[in-house]
């Protein structure tokens, strides 16, 4: 996955992501595709969660999956989740849950609760940082304020039981923050470096190019776009705009 929170020169905040899933889950040697990625695409939907006829938040879901991986609470905040692979992974949390130790939250349910109940960026940040979870994760959170110390964009690096790091946009780059599937203070695996290419494309685009179109182009650039990419989601918090495009990576394209 690749997630980006960026602000344009006028201070408008955008949040965009590629959802990549299906690594090692069945490579189709005839078509050069991942089986699970191909099966996920027809299930991608936009969901408008409403109460009293009013939108509470909007999300990108797989039909049948009730948790949240990508969502926007119009005018308030945006959230994406990237997988964090770790020795102390979700299967340990899963085993603990089966064995009756149920103090942790399921990742998808935690993010759903955040989208339903958090009233803003700061409350969401606290919830995503403090709740014990069953699996590690990266939460990429965008808010609705862009000035100085109150600039609202961050990456929350989570272990199952505690927050490892909170990285703010101000200290990241100033006008954007970008996360793939590696701790930001460590180099990515050289076989799977989407971070460096994504930074290069953001640099090429410049802050003047930040927009729905510009971020879609960055996320459509190989290897940020790869054979695992299922969809690209683009969000603009102030207008509540969410658009989603299924993604395909025609050959020549790298597998991940």
């Amino acid at each position: 996955c690749t997630s980006i929170v960026a602000q344009d020169p006028k201070g408008t905040l955008y949040h965009a992501r590629n959802l990549d899933f299906g690594l090692f889950l069945g490579w189709d040697i005839k078509n050069n595709t991942w089986a699970v990625t191909e099966l996920l695409r027809p299930l991608v939907i936009i969901v408008d969660f409403q109460k009293g006829g009013q939108t509470v938040f909007k999300s990108v879901n797989f039909a049948g999956y009730i948790g949240i991986l990508t969502a926007i609470k119009p005018k308030l905040f945006t959230l994406t989740m990237n997988e964090r692979f770790n020795k102390d992974g979700g299967y340990i949390g899963l085993m603990e849950w089966i064995l009756g130790e149920r103090t942790g939250q399921w990742m998808g349910f935690l993010t759903r609760q955040v989208m339903e109940s958090a009233s803003g960026f700061l409350e969401a940040k606290v919830m995503l940082s403090n709740e014990e979870m069953l699996a590690p994760a990266y939460f990429i959170l965008g808010g609705n304020k862009t000035s100085g110390l109150y600039q609202q964009g961050c990456v929350i690096t989570r272990a199952r039981e505690f927050v490892v790091d909170v990285w703010d946009m101000e200290s990241a780059n100033g006008w954007y923050i970008l996360e793939t599937n590696y701790d930001h203070w460590s180099a990515p695996l050289f076989l799977d470096d989407r971070r460096t290419p994504a930074h290069h494309c953001m640099g090429n685009m410049t802050q003047q190019g930040v927009s729905i179109k510009g971020l879609h182009n960055v996320l459509s650039s190989r290897p940020v776009l790869n054979k695992l990419t299922t969809y690209t989601a683009l969000m603009q918090v102030d207008s509540g705009h969410l658009e989603v495009w299924l993604q395909y990576c025609p050959d020549p394209c790298i597998p991940w």
Binding site: G26, G108, A135, P223
Partner: protein, 118 residues
């Protein structure tokens, strides 16, 4: 290309063709949890089933052909569901009813993130 991969920054990918748009649904949180997703998933059962079969095949492969975990998911899934917080447990029951899939399978689909972080 041999890794590390170099980027190819494109500037003409937007807008993609209309065929890549995805459908939208309203989920009414005022409805009882078991009814919220019915209209979303009622025609998606076969597609969800295909995906779950692929997951199961993968799990079976990594455990050297053993069906033990797959059987566990199918048999214990409904009981597992009772340990999950509301309204999520009822939402999953509603999805299982609407798609005709086993509750255990729907529960598994909803915890695939935790499972695959391995």
């Amino acid at each position: 290309q041999i890794p590390p991969f170099t980027e190819e920054c494109v500037d003409n990918a937007y807008p993609p063709p209309e065929s890549r748009k995805v459908p939208s649904y309203v989920v009414n949180l005022d409805l009882p949890a078991a009814q919220r997703w019915t209209h979303v998933v009622k025609n998606k059962g076969p597609e969800i089933k295909k995906l779950l079969d692929e997951f199961k095949s993968f799990i079976s492969d990594i455990f050297n052909g053993s069906q033990a975990i797959v059987n566990f998911i199918d048999k214990e899934g409904p009981a597992f569901d009772e340990t999950l917080p509301q309204p999520f447990a009822d939402e999953m029951r509603g999805i299982a009813n609407a798609t005709g899939l086993k509750l255990g399978e729907i529960v598994f689909f909803n915890i695939f993130y935790e499972f695959f972080t391995v």
